[in-house]
Amino acid sequence: MSDHLPDPILSVRDLRICAARQHQILHGVSFDILPGETYGLVGESGSGKSVTGLAVLGLLKRPLAVNGGALYFKDRELLKLSARERRRLRGDRMAMVFQEPMTALNPLATIGRQIAEMFVIHRGMGWTQARAKAVEALENVRVPAPEERARAYPHQLSGGMRQRVMIAMALACRPDLLIADEPTTALDVTVQAGVLELIADLCRAEGTAVLLVSHDLGVIANMCQRVGVMDRGRLVEEQDTRALFENPLHPYTRGLLAARPRLGSRIAGQRGRLTELDQVVTASDRGRDAPTLVTPRGPREEVTA
């Protein structure tokens, strides 16, 4: 871009991901995340946004695999690192918060131990010291009675509390990048705002960059400085958040914005029909730029390269 911008913390270049070496899932996605910036990835289910996040962390599970492109993290080429070096970065320099707080914690270990583990593996602390740090971490994510909660098991906590625990765990080692994959989708609406605010506050305080993956445009609008819109494995539009909402350039983005439920639209007596498309768009003849309201999960195209 230009020279007065700081170097990006994460630079995704032409990232390609395939499934079972046959089906291309991601067709060359590129974007940058600047230090301290919150970058949003939106798109409907199956557009490849979660997979992008997992690929950055190196957690893609077979049959998914990266088959092209590059990932630069603070000037290090992630794809060229050994498995061991990537593991060292995970949790320490880049961390992730997942969608399902109900199942993302080990049911048989205490909350305190699961957080303390971060300090043990990345900071080489003993368990006693790590446990004390874990209580501190719980306090930081505004969990009431952290001493007590540290001794609790995941099933004894509510969904919102568990997601706070996940955040405490992810931010334990003060990473440079936090990848949040639909962090509030599984939560109660009343709890969502609190959790988002927590992520925003803590990351602002530490200067942590955030890659926020969501299909919720409201969440994106509140949290992100810049947004990338994904559609069927491609980044179709990237803009400042405000600009995107005011002037969506890509037809797909316009479709996405039009699909938002609007508060009050019913009360206003406009219980109208859904936006009508003037033609039927089938999976095969719909082009790259076609506005979509219905998409099959993931495109099935042969690998060309």
Binding site: R90, G91, E100, P107, L108, I121, M169
Partner: protein, 311 residues
């Protein structure tokens, strides 16, 4: 916890009564009795008077409900009855058989666990590998082997051909004598445990919290040790409990084959001579063993899994 154990023990009583009832009824309708067996030995003419005398002596001249009542009331006072054959209290006949049987069951299960669980783990950590396929082929074979045939094979190879181990018999405190019967008895639970462990590990490795562990930067060995193992244990505990519980009943054939003086061989001998009080006593012991093991498994669950509350 104490409350839980007491309640579980009380719950055993109806099960035991049902077992007593079934065994009692079956043996009062099957043809042939201890006395008719005794009388027909070597003689053609039956001595009616002697038979009636013996019948009265054992209380067999009374109707079945009365005999059942007497047996159950005796049982509640801890009296298992008198053996027809040895005229000793049944408990005195069973008691010396108890320890050899328990020893064999624990030994067989120990072998099954020590071999089966690690095999299942290793197979699951490299799914689809040659090691995995080989282990599962061996496991299925182990499950399908008839255990008496496998016992005979062990005897033939290790006792007869190689002469490393005694082929049969029991000596208190002798490790050599227990090895072959324990292997013969342990093969099928070992195979089952290997399969269950493999399935359990694969299941747990797909869990979300394992992905969290990877995202935390845990190495695979550490992940398995700290997060996978305990969760797998919860899954295979039931299988292990059922196997140990059923072991004493399954041991009947193996005990007979290796002349192991346990409950199983006692049961076979007593059925052959229609020594009904001993048969009932032996069956009861097998049932109590099963129930106690299951109770211990439930307690173990509560210890391992914080989601399960006890008491």
């Amino acid at each position: 916890m104490l409350h839980f154990i007491l309640r579980r023990m009380l719950q055993m009583i109806p099960t035991m009564l049902a077992v007593v009832l079934i065994v009692f009824v079956i043996f009062s309708v099957v043809p042939g009795s201890f006395i008719s067996g005794l009388m027909s030995e070597g003689r053609n003419a039956t001595n009616i008077q002697a038979m009636q005398h013996l019948n009265a002596q054992f209380g067999l001249d009374q109707p079945v409900p009365v005999r059942l009542w007497n047996y159950v009331t005796g049982l509640l006072q801890g009296d298992l009855g008198i053996s027809y054959r040895t005229r000793e209290p049944v408990w005195n006949v069973i008691e010396p058989r108890l320890w050899p049987s328990i020893k064999l069951a624990l030994m067989a299960m120990g072998l099954a666990a020590v071999v089966g669980i690690p095999l299942g783990f290793m197979a699951a950590l490299r799914p689809g590998s040659i090691f995995d396929s080989a282990t599962m082929v061996v496991a299925v074979s182990g499950l399908s082997l008839p255990e008496f045939w496998f016992g005979l094979l062990l005897m033939y190879v290790f006792a007869l051909q190689l002469g490393w181990l005694p082929s049969f018999g029991y000596q208190p405190g002798s490790l050599q004598h227990i090895i072959l019967p324990a292997i013969a008895l342990g093969v099928s639970p070992m195979a089952l445990l290997a399969r269950t462990t493999r399935a359990g590990v694969l299941d747990v490795m797909n869990a979300d919290f394992v992905r969290t562990g990877r995202a935390k930067g845990l190495s695979e060995p550490r992940l398995v040790k700290a997060h996978v193992a305990r969760n797998v244990l919860v899954l295979i505990l039931t299988t292990m409990g059922l196997q140990i519980g059923a072991m004493m009943g399954q041991a009947i054939v193996i005990e007979k084959l290796f002349s192991w003086p346990g409950i199983g061989s006692l049961l076979v001998d007593s059925v052959a001579t229609r020594d009904i009080p001993v048969v009932q006593g032996a069956v009861l012991v097998i049932v109590v063993w099963f129930l106690v093991i299951n109770m211990l498994v439930d307690i173990a669950y509560a210890v391992i899994d914080p989601r399960i509350k006890v008491g």
